[in-house]
């Protein structure tokens, strides 16, 4: 899939605006839920950039994994926790200043890196990316691929063990329950039938 120069340039400008604007919104917006939705937009913009680079499979995988799974998970966490954030905090606090400084430093570092490295610019080649990725995974990149699989397997086993209450270690009498959610104590409900007295 190849685009003409003009289409590429316009798409690149639009996608960059989406990614940068969305990312700024994620950081600057007050509402956590709005930030999370904007994060989804950023992921979709990144997928568009992959399409511009002729990496259609990576773009689809980006949407499936980051938008369809990671972002939904983040939204779930935010909506289930529903933490109230005070909205009257000043914008220019020392805390925000330090954060801004660290971010600006990181940005400068990365920018210098990008401009220092002599990148090899390759002409776009039309190919079936899926087959190519599959071949590379099972030849040159077999070890990283397998290590990533093992890592994911470990994470999955860990998640299952955390979700299964039976594996929480026994506790001595009188100790508070280690992994309990902060719930209010259960009210005793009057279960006697009230209809006939």
């Amino acid at each position: 899939m190849t685009f003409s120069e003009g289409v590429q340039l316009v798409s690149f400008i639009i996608l960059t605006a989406i990614v940068l604007g969305g990312a700024a919104g994620v950081v600057l917006l007050r509402s956590m839920v709005h930030s999370a939705f904007l994060l989804g937009l950023v992921f979709i913009g990144a997928a568009g950039l992959y399409v511009l680079l002729n990496a259609d499979f990576v773009a689809a995988a980006q949407i499936l994994i980051y938008v369809g799974a990671v972002n939904v998970l983040i939204l779930f966490a935010i909506m289930l926790v529903n933490k109230r954030i005070p909205t009257d905090r000043p914008v220019f606090s020392p805390r925000n200043a330090v954060t801004g400084l660290v971010c600006a430093g990181l940005f400068a570092l990365l920018a210098v890196c990008i401009f220092q490295v002599p990148w090899q610019i390759q002409e776009p080649v039309a190919m079936n990316t899926v087959i190519e990725i599959g071949k590379r995974f099972f030849s040159e990149f077999l070890l990283p691929f397998e290590v990533a699989s093992v890592l994911l397997l470990l994470a999955m086993v860990g998640a299952i063990i955390l979700a299964q209450r039976e594996y929480i270690p026994d506790r001595a009498e009188g100790e508070p329950e280690p992994l309990a959610l902060p719930e209010r104590p259960r009210d005793e409900v009057d279960t006697t039938p009230t209809g006939r007295r």
């Binding site: 939705f37 989804g40 259609d56 499979f57 949407i63 938008v67 972002n71 939904v72 939204l75």
Partner: protein
């Protein structure tokens, strides 16, 4: 073989009239989009009519009878009614997210229609990642449901949105795994390739349809697609006895119509995908090309090509209609499952079975590649029929015992 390329034909005929080639290309661009919008809308009206008529039949009543022939354009009338209704945004709702939600639910559905083939050249874009594109794009919809649920500022709507997202991410996995087994057999992600791979046996292509090679995957796909479309018996996100109407609760007018449209567009899409993946897409029971070769008609004959395309489109729609009917039948005959039953079915039954199916398919594909025959691919059918037979005989036994004892 080169099929019909409408885009090039259109550009050429316009350049024959003196229009520059680039302009002709640009003029072609919006046409497929309009075709998609119109086709999907007409399809939804037809599906709504089918739903109402068939559910009427199942409950021994008439269904709609007045607007149009046999009530056939009742759906269109409902659409017009929803268009002119007042658009209400609740005062405590989040107006931006409330408006964006329905749009995010419906846009991915329309996108997915891009790669559905209706014939040899009758596909809007035959991209190499075809079916994976559908799976990836469809995973955006739950965000719209979550957004609508959250923005409504209503606890039932929020619960409905959360349920919708949980349901669709848990049924996406068995769905994708059953599709992956098909992809493994056709060794391509492109929807056109998947259909062509089911036309390999010449006149007897009926037996190379994937339903015979993937019966287990077919059942998994049907169940998970039904759950993905969030229709009864899996319509928990809008279970009216628990959640009013789930994330639709606060919506009126056109925004509600978008949800409604997306439900039926999704149903039709799932049916089309099922017919492409398992029932051989556009191929007729006896494929026309070998038949034409038998009668000495050339494949390049223009009349034959038009007939072939028409038969392809009709057959695809007919197969999809069959699946729409199955979904409607399930909706009006099965009771709704509970949320824990739903998640149990997805994670504890469909997921292991689909993993097993994937492994089995991989082994059989390897076997058939070494033996140079497609016969091993039919082993799952034997297993499946055997399992069904065993299940049926196990079910009969308790009823049969007392009579045997009496005799």
């Amino acid at each position: 073989m080169e099929g019909i390329d409408l885009g090039n034909a259109f550009a050429q005929s316009l350049s024959g009239l003196g229009v520059p080639a680039d302009v002709a290309r640009a003029l072609w661009l919006p046409l497929p989009m309009i075709v998609i919008l119109l086709t999907v809308t007409v399809g939804v009206i037809a599906a709504v009519w089918g739903e109402r008529k068939w559910s009427g039949m199942m409950q021994q009543r008439w269904g709609p009878t007045i607007i149009g022939l046999g009530g056939s354009i009742q759906g269109a009338a409902d659409g017009v009614k929803l268009l002119i209704k007042e658009d209400i945004i609740p005062i405590k709702a989040d107006p931006w997210l409330f408006t964006l939600g329905p749009a995010i639910v419906i846009i991915p559905v329309f996108f997915s229609y891009l790669v559905i083939p209706f014939g040899q050249g009758l596909v809007l874009s035959d991209i190499t990642i075809g079916i994976f594109f559908i799976i990836a794009v469809a995973s955006i919809s739950p965000i719209g449901a979550l957004m609508a649920g959250y923005a409504s500022n209503n606890k039932y709507a929020l619960l409905g949105g959360l349920r919708a997202a949980a349901q669709s991410i848990s049924y996406e996995i068995p769905l994708a795994l059953s599709v992956l087994a098909i992809v493994m057999m056709s060794s391509s992600l492109s929807t056109v390739d998947i259909v062509e791979q089911q036309e390999t046996l010449g006149l007897f292509s009926f037996f190379s349809w994937n339903i015979w090679r993937q019966p287990i995957g077919f059942v998994i796909f049907l169940i998970s697609a039904l759950a993905e479309t969030e229709r009864a018996p899996f319509d928990l996100p809008e279970a009216e006895s628990e959640l009013v109407a789930g994330h639709h609760t606060e919506y009126t007018g056109m925004k509600f119509a978008l949800f409604y449209l997306s439900e039926y567009a999704n149903l039709i899409l799932a049916s089309l995908i099922a017919s492409v993946l398992f029932l051989g897409g556009w191929s007729f029971i006896v494929p026309l090309e070998p038949l034409a070769a038998l009668f000495g008609i050339e494949a390049a004959n223009p009349v034959f090509q038009v007939v072939n395309a028409l038969v392809g489109i009709s057959v695809t729609i007919l197969k999809a209609t069959f699946f729409v009917f199955l979904a409607i039948l399930a909706r009006w005959t099965l009771p709704r499952v509970r949320i824990d039953q739903l998640l149990d079915l997805g994670w504890k039954f469909l997921l292991p079975v689909s993993l097993f199916n994937l492994l089995l398919t991989a082994a059989l594909v390897l076997l058939s590649n070494t033996l140079k025959t497609t016969l091993p691919l039919y082993l799952p059918l034997v297993i499946f029929v055997g399992l069904v037979f065993v299940a049926m005989s196990l079910q009969k036994r308790p009823a049969a015992k007392p009579t045997a004892a009496r005799a």
